[in-house]
C-alpha cells in the first residue's frame, strides 16, 4: 500500500510497442481482425491518431469499441428514450442515462440509484463464477455513484427444465448469485426464474442492484483538476477475462506465446464487501473527487472514461499497477477484467487520509497517475509511452451503426396462428386439472428452491421480498421511507410483438410496484436480444426500444439507464426478445406495504380491471399445448396508470389488506398464490365477471388480460373502497370472500381445490429436478 510497488516485472524490461515505434513502423501488420475490429474501424483509429496504433492502443480501442462497451448497434435507437422524456419525467432524475447508473430523487433529501445488467455468456461458460461476478459488477456500478448498495435482484432465464444442461447451469447460477450477494450482505429481494427452450444455449443472467445515498453525496466518474492523483484500489490485477487479447501480447513477445490466460473471471465477494465499506468511509471523509468502477474492459475503460468526462488529460504509469501475475503484458493489464477494483481521483492534500482509510480496511491502494493539463490520455510502461490518445475517441466516439432492420417474414403466420382453435377445458374438473397443471409448470411453480438460497433479511430493512409482487426495502430508518422494485418480462409476448411485449413488461413491473402500494418513479432495462447483424433481430430491438420509450412517456416514468446484451443466439436461432424491465417505486413508509396473501376471514375479494379473451402467448397455451402464436394481450397504459393510483391510495388509506397482481396464468393462478401465501382459503364466484365482460369461466380464470389485480378489502372499508373505484372509473367486481372455513379455493359452480392439492402441485417441481 504505497505509491510505488515492486510487484510488476523487475529488472529486464521486455520489448514493448511504443508510440515512437508505431510512428516509425507504419506498415507493421496488426491483428485487428482477431480483436474483433472491422477494417474501417481500424482505419478510423489510424485516422484519429494520424499513425498506426501501438498494440496497447489497439487493445484499448478494440475492447472499448466492442458491441458490449460502445453500444455501437444500439446507440442510434436510444434517441427514442431522449425524445420521449418529458419535463415531468426529467424532474425526478438527479442523474440520467450515461452515467454508471441513473439516480432518482425519492424525497426527504434521499437519492436512490438502481441498474440492471446482464452477465449472460460468462454464466453459460462457468455458471457459478459468471453469475457471481455479474452480481459483483452491478454492485460496483452502484457504489461508484456514491451510494450504499441496499438490495439486489436477479432476473434469470434458462432452457428447458428437463434438459441436462439446465441442471448444470441453474444450480451453479443460483449458487453464484447467492454466494456473492449473501457474502456482500445485500438482501436479495426478488427476480425471475423463467424456463423456455429458446434459452437453452443462451441462458440469461441479469442482475440488478439498488443503492441509496443523501442527495449531496452523489459522485460522478470524472477526472478533473490537474495534479489530482489517480488511484487504483482493491484487488490486484490478474489475467482474468483476457482470453482473446493474448494475441496482442504474443505479438510483442520475442519468443514463445504468452502464458495461458483465463477467459473466466473469478470473484472474491469478501474483497468486494471490504471494498464497499472502504468506499463508504472514503465518501464520508469527502476525500474522493471522481470515482469509477472497473468492470468490462477494466483499466482501458476506467482511464478513458474518467479522463474523457473530466476537463483535462490524464497520465498513467501502467507499470505501477499491482499485479497478481507478474508475467502480464501491458496490453493485458489494460484489458484485464479482474474483479473487485475501483479507481478514484483524489486531491493531493487528501491523499494521506485516503490511504489511511484504505489501510484500515486492508485495501491495497496505489497511485498510478495523475490528472494533467493537456487533453490526452498518456500511458507509460517503465518510462516509455505506449498510449497517447484523445480519451473521448476511445470512450465515447466509437463507431455508430445504423444496422439494417426488417420485420421478420415469419411474423405474419405466427400472429395468425392464434389460440382460438386449441382444445379448452369446459367442465369444472377440467378447469381444476388445468389449474393444477399450470401451478406445477416450470414457470409458475414455487421458486423457493431458488430463493431460499438468498439472504433476504440482512441489513434489517426488508419489508417485502419473494414471493410477494415487489421487493420492498426501507431507506430511512427514522421515517420508514423506502423503495419497491420489481422486474418483469414475458419473452413470448415480445416474440409475438416486440413493441407490445416491451410495453407489457413495463406494465407488469409497474403494476407489481403499485400493487404493494408504492408510487412508480423510474425504470431501468436490460435488453437481451439475438444478433444485431440479423435484420429481424434489429427490428425487434427497435420495436422494443420504441415500446419502452413511448410507454414510459405515457406512464410518466423516466428511463434511468440499463444494459444491452446482443448475440444471445445459437447458430441462426435467436432467443425470444427479452427486454427485462425493472421499475422502482417509492413509499413514505414501507411498513404500510400491501402483501400478496390474504389472512383475515371475512374480507371481501375484488377483481379490478376488465378480462378479455386473451390467451395468445399466455402460460395456459404454453403449458397445455406447447403453443405460441397470435397476438399478446392488449396494452392499456392509461388503465395501468389509473389502477396504480387506486392501489397506492388504497394502501395509504388502509382500504386493502392484501393485493396480488394478475399476470402469467391469469386469475386462477393469482387466487391460488394469494391463498397459499398464508394458507387461508377463499370462496370465489365468477358469474358477474363473466356476464359483464362477456366471457366464459375458462377465460375468466386463465386469460392474461393486463391492468388487473385482486385485492382483499376489510368489510369496514368496503364502501369507501368501492366509492373510490366508482368515482375514478376503475372497473371492479366483487368476486369472493376470504374464508378460513374453506380448505383452499372454492370456485362456485366450477370446482373446489384444497390447500394440500394446491401446495402439492406448486412446490414439487424444482426439488424433483434439483433435489431437496
Amino acid at each position: 500500500m504505497s505509491t510505488s510497488t515492486a510487484s510488476s516485472s523487475t529488472g529486464h524490461v521486455p520489448h514493448v510497442d511504443t508510440v515512437g515505434n508505431a510512428g516509425a513502423t507504419p506498415d507493421h501488420e496488426q491483428p485487428w481482425l482477431e480483436l474483433g475490429l472491422k477494417e474501417d474501424e481500424y482505419q478510423r483509429i489510424r485516422d484519429i491518431l494520424d499513425r498506426r496504433p501501438t498494440s496497447a492502443e489497439l487493445a484499448m480501442y478494440s475492447v472499448m469499441w466492442s458491441e458490449h462497451c460502445s453500444y455501437k448497434s444500439s446507440k442510434v435507437h436510444f434517441k427514442h428514450f431522449a425524445d420521449n422524456t418529458t419535463e415531468e419525467m426529467r424532474e425526478k432524475l438527479l442523474v440520467g442515462i450515461g452515467e454508471n447508473a441513473g439516480v432518482v430523487d425519492i424525497g426527504d433529501g434521499w437519492a436512490v440509484t438502481f441498474k440492471v445488467e446482464s452477465h449472460n455468456h460468462p454464466s453459460y461458460v462457468e455458471p457459478y463464477q459468471g453469475a457471481a461476478t455479474g452480481v459483483g459488477g452491478i454492485v460496483r456500478d452502484i457504489m461508484s455513484m456514491g451510494a450504499r448498495p441496499i438490495a439486489v435482484m436477479d432476473p434469470l432465464r434458462f432452457g428447458n427444465l428437463n434438459h441436462p444442461d439446465t441442471q448444470r447451469v441453474l444450480p451453479g447460477v443460483v449458487a453464484g448469485v447467492g454466494g456473492y450477494g449473501n457474502c456482500l450482505g445485500l438482501p436479495n429481494i426478488g427476480g425471475e426464474v423463467v424456463f423456455d427452450d429458446c434459452y437453452q444455449g443462451n441462458p440469461l443472467v441479469n442482475a440488478l442492484c439498488v443503492g441509496a445515498m443523501r442527495r449531496e453525496d452523489i459522485h460522478l466518474a470524472k477526472a478533473s483538476g490537474a495534479g489530482n492523483k489517480v488511484i487504483l484500489f482493491g484487488a490486484k490485477t490478474g489475467g482474468d477475462g483476457i482470453g482473446g487479447v493474448s494475441v496482442l501480447a504474443s505479438e510483442t513477445f520475442e519468443e514463445g506465446g504468452p502464458a495461458k490466460r483465463p477467459a473466466v473471471q473469478v470473484g472474491d465477494p469478501f474483497a468486494e464487501k471490504v471494498l464497499i465499506e472502504c468506499c463508504l468511509d472514503l465518501y464520508k471523509a469527502k476525500v474522493v473527487d471522481g470515482i469509477q468502477d472497473l468492470g468490462g474492459a477494466g483499466l482501458s475503460c476506467a482511464t478513458s472514461e474518467l479522463a474523457s468526462n473530466g476537463d483535462g488529460g490524464m497520465q498513467v504509469e501502467l507499470d505501477l499497477v499491482p499485479l497478481r501475475d507478474a508475467s502480464l503484458r501491458p496490453e493485458e493489464i489494460l484489458m484485464s477484467e479482474s474483479q473487485e477494483r475501483m479507481m478514484a481521483v483524489v486531491e493531493p492534500a487528501k491523499l494521506d487520509e485516503f490511504m489511511e482509510i484504505c489501510r484500515r480496511w486492508d485495501v491495497e491502494a496505489t497511485v498510478i497517475g495523475e490528472v494533467t493539463e493537456g487533453d490526452h490520455l498518456v500511458i507509460t510502461w517503465h518510462g516509455e509511452v505506449i498510449v497517447d490518445v484523445p480519451p473521448r475517441s476511445v470512450a465515447h466516439d466509437g463507431p455508430v451503426y445504423h444496422r439494417p432492420l426488417e420485420r421478420p417474414a415469419y411474423l405474419d403466420s405466427l400472429q395468425e396462428n392464434a389460440t382460438g382453435s386449441l382444445a379448452k377445458p369446459t367442465t369444472g374438473d377440467e378447469l381444476k386439472a388445468d389449474l393444477l397443471t399450470l401451478l406445477a409448470s416450470p414457470n409458475l411453480c414455487d421458486k423457493s428452491w431458488v430463493t431460499d438460497q438468498y439472504d433476504r433479511y440482512v441489513l434489517g430493512n426488508t419489508a417485502l421480498a419473494m414471493p410477494d409482487d415487489s421487493g420492498v426495502v426501507r431507506v430511512d430508518e427514522e421515517t420508514g421511507r423506502g423503495v419497491a422494485v420489481s422486474t418483469d418480462c414475458n419473452g413470448r409476448f415480445a416474440k409475438l410483438d416486440p413493441y407490445a411485449g416491451a410495453q407489457l413488461a413495463l406494465a407488469e413491473a409497474y403494476r407489481n410496484v403499485a400493487t404493494v402500494g408504492a408510487t412508480p418513479l423510474a425504470i431501468t432495462d436490460c435488453l437481451n436480444f439475438g444478433s444485431p447483424e440479423d435484420t429481424g433481430v434489429m427490428w425487434q430491438f427497435e420495436q422494443a426500444v420504441m415500446g419502452i420509450a413511448e410507454g414510459c412517456r405515457e406512464l410518466g416514468v423516466p428511463v434511468t439507464g440499463g444494459n444491452v446484451s446482443f448475440y444471445n443466439q445459437t447458430g441462426d436461432v435467436a432467443i425470444h426478445p427479452t427486454p427485462v424491465i425493472g421499475v422502482l417505486g417509492v413509499m413514505d413508509d414501507v411498513a404500510r406495504r400491501t402483501p400478496s396473501g390474504w389472512k383475515t376471514p371475512g374480507q371481501v375479494i375484488y377483481l379490478l380491471g376488465t378480462t378479455r379473451d386473451e390467451l395468445d402467448g399466455g402460460e395456459w397455451a404454453h403449458v397445455r399445448h406447447g403453443h405460441l402464436g397470435g397476438r399478446p394481450p392488449k396494452v392499456d397504459l392509461a388503465a395501468e396508470r389509473l389502477l396504480g393510483e387506486i392501489l397506492v391510495n388504497a394502501s395509504r388509506d388502509g382500504l386493502v389488506d392484501a393485493a396480488h397482481d394478475l399476470s402469467d396464468g391469469g386469475l386462477a393462478v393469482a387466487l391460488a398464490e394469494a391463498t397459499m401465501r398464508n394458507g387461508v382459503g377463499a370462496r370465489v364466484w365468477l358469474d358477474a365477471v363473466c356476464e359483464r365482460d362477456g366471457i366464459d369461466a375458462f377465460t375468466a380464470l386463465f386469460s392474461e388480460s393486463t391492468a388487473r389485480v385482486v385485492v382483499a378489502v376489510p368489510r369496514s372499508e368496503e364502501v369507501r373502497f368501492t366509492d373510490m373505484c366508482t368515482a375514478r372509473g376503475q372497473v371492479h367486481a366483487r368476486i369472493g370472500v376470504v374464508d378460513d372455513q374453506t380448505d383452499g379455493i372454492d370456485v362456485q359452480g366450477q370446482f373446489a381445490v384444497t390447500l394440500d392439492e394446491l401446495r402439492e402441485a406448486h412446490t414439487r417441481t424444482l426439488p424433483a429436478v434439483f433435489g431437496e
Binding site: 461458460v125 462457468e126 463464477q129 484487488a235 490478474g238 489475467g239 482474468d240 502464458a259 495461458k260 490466460r261 483465463p262 473466466v264 473469478v266 470473484g267 472474491d268 469478501f270 474483497a271 497478481r324 501475475d325 479482474s338 474483479q339 486492508d362
Partner: protein, 98 residues
C-alpha cells in the same frame, strides 16, 4: 479395501480467494516464511477390493468429469493411497522432532 486419492487445485492463473485469506492470516500468527498459499481439494475414494489399473482409470475419468471443473481447475494427481502413506512415513522419519 483400497483407496484412491485425487488432488484438484485451481489453475495457477485463477484467483484463489481462499488461499489469499490464509496467506493473509499466516503472518499475523507469526508464520512469515510462506510467500503464497493456494487451497485445493483432496478426494479420498474407497473401493472394495484392490486398487487396480481399471480402478485408477475410472478414478481419473471421475476426476476429470465430476470432481474438477476444467474451466478453472486442474487435476494434479490421481493415485493409490499407499503412495501417500509412504511419502508421509518417509517425511516423518526426516523430521523426528515432530
Amino acid at each position: 479395501m483400497g483407496n484412491v486419492v485425487i488432488d484438484v487445485m485451481l489453475k495457477p492463473e485463477i484467483l484463489d480467494p481462499q488461499g489469499q485469506a490464509v496467506n493473509g492470516a499466516l503472518p499475523r500468527l507469526g508464520f512469515d516464511q510462506f510467500t503464497d498459499v493456494r487451497q485445493g481439494k483432496r478426494f479420498l475414494l474407497t473401493v472394495d477390493g484392490e486398487v487396480t489399473d481399471e480402478v485408477l482409470e475410472a478414478a481419473r475419468k471421475a476426476a476429470e468429469t465430476l470432481l474438477s471443473n476444467p474451466v478453472i481447475e486442474d487435476v494434479v494427481s490421481v493415485r493409490a493411497e499407499q503412495d501417500v502413506d509412504a511419502s508421509r512415513a518417509e517425511q516423518d522419519e526426516k523430521d523426528p522432532g515432530r
